[in-house]
């Protein structure tokens, strides 16, 4: 299981992501700078969290147009696994790898705390070690996680089991439609989520609830 972590200016969670991937897969991920035009040979590309380009224009918008994104888009279309977390979710959504958009939190505030995350689909490369309906503790830290899409897209997401994670009842921190915390593309090889599972995988994090998500990568 070889992986790459994409680095854009203003990203700050790349080390957390790399550490989590290495802890579980045993391989150190390759850090890829955004100006590269070709990805190394890997099984997974992780787009980590942070504030790429200071959230200028729209969060994730500038990073989504970086040179490396062209190759990510091309290889994702051929089945390469892509995981976007937080700003990474915003970036891959802006890049058109996932439908919809992420708006300012409905409560206007940046929210940095723990939420309860319900696993809705266990047949993905990131959740196959989980049980349907499992609820895990997971930290969040974002100002723009309010997921929105048109009614037709929302129906397609619901009907095709593409909502991978929801905020457990009553814990929606940002006003996201249908409590959406993470979604997959139609083929299932691209997943984006607002919470930070990479920060809940070892005792020092206070809890390892999200470790099975990373362990799922080994079986995928």
């Amino acid at each position: 299981m070889k992986s790459a972590v994409i680095l854009f200016p203003g990203i700050n969670r790349e080390r957390d992501m790399a550490r989590a991937l290495e802890a579980v897969t045993g391989h150190k991920p390759i850090i890829v700078w955004h100006t590269e035009t070709t990805l190394p040979q890997v099984d997974l590309v992780a787009v980590p969290g942070g504030f790429s380009y200071g959230d200028y224009l729209r969060c994730g918008a500038i990073a989504a147009r970086s040179p490396i994104m062209t190759d990510i888009r091309a290889k994702a279309a051929k089945g390469l696994k892509v995981l976007g977390v937080c700003n990474g979710f915003q970036i891959i959504t802006e890049a058109g790898l996932l439908p919809g958009a992420l708006l300012r939190n409905s409560g206007l505030k940046f929210v940095c705390r723990e939420v309860k995350l319900k696993v809705e689909n266990t047949r993905t490369f990131f959740t196959n070690k989980m049980k349907q309906g499992d609820v895990v503790r997971c930290p969040i830290a974002h100002g723009e996680g309010n997921y929105i899409c048109d009614a037709e897209t929302l129906k397609a997401l619901e009907d095709n089991n593409r909502i991978v994670f929801r905020y457990a009842e009553g814990t929606n921190p940002n006003g996201a439609m249908n409590d959406i915390a993470g979604i997959a593309n139609e083929q299932g090889n691209v997943i984006g989520m607002m919470p930070h599972p990479e920060n809940m995988i070892e005792p020092l994090h206070g809890n390892s609830d999200c470790r099975p998500l990373f362990e799922s990568l080994l079986a995928a």
Binding site: L57, G100, A101, L103, R104, G107, I148, G175
Partner: protein, 79 residues
């Protein structure tokens, strides 16, 4: 040639920033405010002097970067 571009949230898309401004105007005593929507404004200086070509290019620029057409509309004014 100069282009002026307005990018605004589509109707029905929640605009928490507009809402916050609305609240602040209320606090300042402006009682006649019904709604506020916040948008973005861009000024672009163009090398191109062909208006039709410029319009087509700006349309492309809006769709590819300045606006996210999932949630936003854009208006181009050329002068």
């Amino acid at each position: 040639m100069k282009a002026k571009i307005k990018v605004t949230l589509k109707n029905g898309v929640l605009d928490p920033q507009g809402k916050a401004i609305e609240g602040a105007l209320g606090s300042l005593g402006f009682s006649g405010i019904e709604h506020v929507r916040q948008g973005k404004y861009f000024e672009i200086d163009l090398k191109n002097s062909d208006k039709a070509k410029a319009k087509a290019e700006l349309d492309d620029i809006c769709r590819k970067l300045l606006a996210n057409t999932v949630i936003e509309n854009y208006e181009i004014e050329l002068a």
